[in-house]
């Protein structure tokens, strides 16, 4: 299952943190710093997977943002790697060529996108068409 999802920029600022298991606030802070340190030292010669405590992180970098999903050691790496990409494509469509600032100013909407596609630490919906249709409908509501 997914333990947490993080979107961080290269400087280490968190643009989204979604937790699927309990951590105290200071534990969360420590995790965020560790993840940042872990993924930013890696480059093209590395895999997109890295062992992290007794979990693993599947991640991909998009421009200045690192999208990281922390999952169990026994989980399927490529499954989550493409889940990230699927999610990014939805964000891109929803925000019309998404950029980091969109995620900052619309932070409360990003959670809505996440909850459409992921819930309870599992993948909930994978059809971009269906997700975008739902998001558009919700955007029209008062």
């Amino acid at each position: 299952m997914i333990r947490f999802i993080l979107i961080q920029n290269r400087a280490g600022k968190t643009r989204l943190a979604k937790w699927y298991m309990h951590f105290d606030d200071d534990e969360k802070q420590k995790l965020i710093e560790e993840v940042h340190a872990c993924v930013t030292v890696r480059d093209a010669k590395h895999t997109n997977f890295v062992e992290f405590r007794n979990f693993k992180i599947v991640y991909r970098r998009y421009a200045g943002l690192y999208f990281c999903i922390c999952v169990d050691i026994t989980d399927n790496n490529l499954y989550y790697l493409e889940a990230i990409h699927n999610f990014v494509e939805v964000l891109n469509e929803y925000f019309h060529n998404v950029c980091e600032l969109d995620l900052v100013f619309n932070f409360y909407k990003v959670y809505t996108v996440v909850d459409e596609m992921f819930l309870a630490g599992e993948i909930r919906e994978t059809s971009q068409t269906k997700v975008l249709k739902q998001l558009l409908m919700l955007t029209s509501l008062e």
């Binding site: 299952m1 968190t14 943190a17 309990h22 802070q29 010669k45 590395h46 895999t47 997109n48 997977f49 890295v50 062992e51 399927n76 790496n77 490529l78 499954y79 790697l81 493409e82 889940a83 990409h85 699927n86 925000f95 950029c99 600032l101 969109d102 900052v104 100013f105 619309n106 932070f107 409360y108 909407k109 959670y111 809505t112 909850d115 819930l119 309870a120 630490g121 599992e122 993948i123 909930r124 919906e125 994978t126 059809s127 068409t129 269906k130 739902q134 919700l138 955007t139 029209s140 509501l141 008062e142």
Partner: protein, 589 residues
């Protein structure tokens, strides 16, 4: 400033802009405090606040919290937002609650009440919000309050699709938090039946729930097996126009396929012949697709990743079944092609997956065919985690036929390996050397080499073991004594070498004392020299051995002087023992 979606909440956007424009941490804190003071006062005059404003302020508080500041008010207002009829207001209320409110909060009862109201609402969007909140929090009170209602909601014919999706995963969350609150009972067959739902999103969510429930109650959920197989079969044989919404880069429903393949790993291979045949057909189909010429439909890495995600899970199922030699060998061959793929991800995953194949008797030999490629990976891969998988694989595929070569390669690698992996590697090499030694002299050589290369990482269990083996195998004792003696003559020696060497010489030094240059007295001087440089712990440990060696040295000197007397009386030719003079040089220190 980029455009803000929907209703905007202009005040929020302005505030965020202000924060971003702050030139320093102090300026930022100042601006935040100004805002907090303002919001606090606005909340005091609660009667004048409309829903929109409450939403805006709660959202600002949330933003401030996410920046890393503590928020000690606003919780009540957030809970109040739940009673609004407006989606945007509810959404912010739920978001604040799920991010900020602790499980033990006093407000939990009110929150549960708010959720209950939304769960029974006629508006599916509100029901969905409530389900998402439960899924994000899953507190004790929520489990108690909703564990009986949620399954009803999930299986009811009146529940619409997107609510079902959330309900399935919501139940999963509560089940994980307190499995004892659920019974398999009445809902099992109806939940299983969700695998046949016409909405693929419902199937996707339900598959995760069923996978978890079937782990706990395999008997009650075994009906899922034929349904999972038939669904998988339909997807794998679908053309990409069949599943339009769920086709990703020309791969039909990859995530659902992986979930179904995972679910099937909770069960042994199906007994029923037609189910089994259908499953094998699926697996063959997946393997066939993997062999498709590269880039028939799409050159994009997303296409191959999605396809390979399914492939790797299918291989995991084939390994789990461990009953189809043909499939195991085919899987192995497919993975073999990935070992030299240009993508590091695939090389890594192939090595990892092959490790499991190596342990199956059906595919063990097929794996061994790739030995040279794997050894090459060990030497040339630039990502240390890939090299690690190569080590694990070499370890798993080691047997009597290739042990010598594999141990030699691992020792060579150890000389330059990352410090973080050395201890594990030392252990692995030691285990292999012991397991596959046909000749214990080889084993002794390997362990001593380990000590020489990576002494700091040789644990007690490893060097205790080599001593134990030497003690228990008479035929290797003389060799061991000779070898450690030579090792101790090196100008540098790890302290563990001193411990091992000292002990072995203590026990078996007499076996070599007859040889020139290896006499008891030389052994004694050699060990004395090393002990002078060793820690107190080592000296204490080796004290008994040292005494034994010294005693032998004394005895030999005594017998030597007796011998000299006899020589003096003319009987020297009878003795061919080496004589040691006090001027004998030692290659030491």
């Amino acid at each position: 400033m980029p455009s803000v979606k929907g209703d905007g909440m202009r005040g929020l956007a302005v505030f965020i802009s202000d924060i971003r424009n702050c030139k320093s941490k102090e300026a930022e804190l100042k601006r935040i405090n100004e805002e907090l003071v303002d919001i606090r006062s606005k909340f005091k005059d609660d009667k004048t606040l409309d829903g929109y404003q409450k939403k805006k302020y709660v959202c600002k508080l949330l933003f401030i919290f996410l920046l890393g500041n503590d928020i000690d008010f606003g919780h009540m207002e957030a809970v109040n937002l739940l009673s609004s009829n407006k989606y945007t207001e509810k959404q912010i209320g739920y978001l604040f609650i799920s991010v900020l409110i602790e499980q033990q909060s006093d407000l939990m009862k009110l929150i549960v009440q708010g959720i209950r109201n939304d769960l029974t609402s006629r508006n599916p969007v509100h029901v969905n919000l409530a389900l998402q909140c439960i899924s994000n929090m899953g507190s004790r009170e929520m489990v108690e309050a909703f564990c009986t209602d949620l399954p009803k909601l999930l299986v009811s014919g009146e529940t619409i699709d997107f609510v079902k999706q959330s309900a399935a995963l919501c139940i999963l969350k509560l089940f994980r938090n307190s499995p004892e609150s659920f019974q398999p009972g009445e809902y099992a067959s109806r939940i299983v039946h969700l695998l046949n739902d016409s909405h693929m999103g419902v199937v996707t969510s339900a598959a995760s729930l069923i996978e978890a429930l079937s782990k706990k109650w395999p008997e009650e959920y075994k009906g899922a097996v034929p349904l999972a197989i038939s669904r998988l079969s339909r997807i794998v044989t679908a053309t990409y126009t069949d599943l339009q919404d769920y086709t990703y880069y020309f791969v039909p429903a990859p995530w659902l396929c992986v979930k179904l393949l995972r679910l099937l790993q909770n069960y042994p291979p199906p007994d029923d012949p037609s189910n089994k045949a259908r499953l094998l057909e699926c697996l063959e189909g997946i393997l066939n697709k993997a062999q498709d010429a590269p880039a028939p439909k799409s050159k994009k890495v997303q296409h191959s990743n999605a396809k390979n995600a399914v492939l790797f899970e299918a291989i995991a199922l084939i390994i789990h079944m461990d009953s189809e030699p043909q499939l195991l060998v085919r899987a192995c061959n497919q993975l073999g092609t990935f070992l030299s793929h240009r993508e590091t991800n695939l090389r890594y995953l192939a090595l990892e997956s092959m490790c499991l194949l190596a342990t199956s008797e059906f595919s063990h030999d097929a794996v061994k065919k790739h030995q040279d490629t794997i050894i090459n990976s060990l030497k040339t891969e630039r990502d240390v985690s890939v090299r690690q998988r190569a080590v694990d694989l070499l370890y798993a595929m080691c047997d009597r036929s290739n042990a010598n070569q594999i141990v030699a390669e691992m020792l060579a690698y150890l000389e330059t390996a990352d410090f973080s992996i050395r201890e594990e590697m030392v252990l692995k090499v030691a285990i292999l050397a012991e397991k596959y030694a046909t000749d214990y002299t080889w084993y002794v050589d390997v362990i001593l080499k380990l000590i020489r290369i990576a002494g700091d990482y040789v644990s007690e269990e490893v060097w205790y073991r080599v001593i134990q083996i030497v003690v228990n195998h008479e035929d290797v004792q003389e060799y061991a004594a000779e070898t450690v003696f030579k090792a101790l003559q090196n100008p540098t020696c790890h302290e563990i070498m001193v411990k091992v060497g000292g002990y072995i010489l203590g026990e078996f030094g007499n076996l070599i004392a007859v040889y020139k240059g290896y006499t008891a007295q030389i052994q004694y001087k050699l060990l004395s020299c090393w002990l002078d440089l060793s820690s107190i712990k080592t000296r204490r440990l080796l004290h008994p051995s040292f005494i034994k060696i010294r005693k032998r040295a004394d005895e030999s000197r005594e017998s030597k002087s007796q011998m000299e007397d006899k020589m003096a009386s003319g009987l020297s030719e009878q003795f061919s023992l080496c004589t040691m003079s006090s001027n004998e040089t030692l290659y030491l220190c």
